[in-house]
Symmetry: C2
Subunit: 200 residues, 2 copies
């Protein structure tokens, strides 16, 4: 909301907030304009259509998210250290941007073809991570598990509690602080589970 940004940046920021909360179909151009402190017509002036604005957002968000979690697995640390770092970073990220993951998954489910068309040509982080894990297994540093399943386990344990936050808050009657405590505990616990599972 600091108004020393360009109008375009203000629109992007506002649009991100609204799309995250309401999704593509639920979002209103009027609400985005209001939040950016400008007129509805101006949003169209900058981004032509709602779909194009959405694509711009999705593009930025997805590449940032996917890019983030590649870096960690590329380091020269031990696999155990990589996994611990990854879990901790992933959960922290999810806490500070609670809507982001829900948004990503929902839009991917809603419209996989369009989304993956847009992602075409970009480097595929999942393939990279799978290959990193495969290499570790060949190196003999861990048990010979299915690397896809291993990656999927890590992602599941980290991502699900972020996506399911509203459910957890309501179903367990825990407040915001209770949720944060739970997540803090999980950073270590999740890594422990994975490590224990892949140890020979």
């Amino acid at each position: 909301m600091t108004s020393d940004q360009t109008t375009e940046q203000r629109i992007l920021e506002a649009a991100k907030a609204v799309f995250f909360e309401k999704g593509l179909n639920g979002a209103r151009m009027q609400e985005i304009a209001d939040k950016a402190g400008i007129n509805k017509a101006l949003v169209h002036y900058y981004f032509r259509s709602k779909d194009k604005l959405f694509s711009a957002i999705f593009e930025e968000v997805s590449s940032r998210v996917f890019g983030r979690f590649i870096a960690i697995f590329r380091s020269q640390d031990t696999l155990e250290h990589k996994i611990r770092t990854f879990c901790s970073a992933y959960i922290d990220e999810g806490i500070s941007s609670p809507y982001l993951l829900s948004f990503l998954f929902n839009e991917i489910n809603r419209n996989p073809r369009v989304i993956f068309q847009q992602l075409k040509g970009k480097t595929n982080p999942f393939m990279l991570l799978r290959d990193e894990l495969t290499a570790e297994i060949e190196k003999g540093s861990i048990r010979a598990v299915n690397p896809v399943n291993l990656l999927l386990n890590i992602l599941s344990l980290c991502a699900f509690p972020i996506i399911a936050k509203p459910l957890l808050l309501n179903a367990f009657h825990i407040g915001e602080q209770g949720y944060l405590d739970l997540m803090a505990e999980r950073k270590k616990e999740v890594a422990d589970i994975i490590i224990q599972y892949i140890n020979k």
Copy 2:
């Protein structure tokens, strides 16, 4: 589509399919009517409004899903057996109704207050499961872990791969069969991970 159902049943069935695929905001009354083989006005005749139709669907689906997974934990089997049965049943359920979980989580995230208002008064399956696990811990049958986190781990490992199905298909370039194979493998693997983690 068997037309020996009542009109109301046909509408509910059609609406379920459309809401699952498109979500509340994306669904169109016209599409629901078409799929039910009737007229748009007739949908309103039976359910007054789109919101009321949606509530009817959500009500039915959520109570069925939540109800399902309580039963397993109430049996007199060993905890290990309960967990294995649960994982297997949960994943099977997710395979046969791929949209269901995404739908539930998306709508809960979109509108937690309304949803949980609607669920008020119903028995809370999460509290029940948490209490079952707490009892097991006190009985000494497993390590003293945080029961909420334990439950969350089970749910994460089972639910996430269902929700993320379109992502997995595209990101790993596996086909429908590859996905099924992966899930089959996971039924045992997920339970193994949990069992190993809670063993003293």
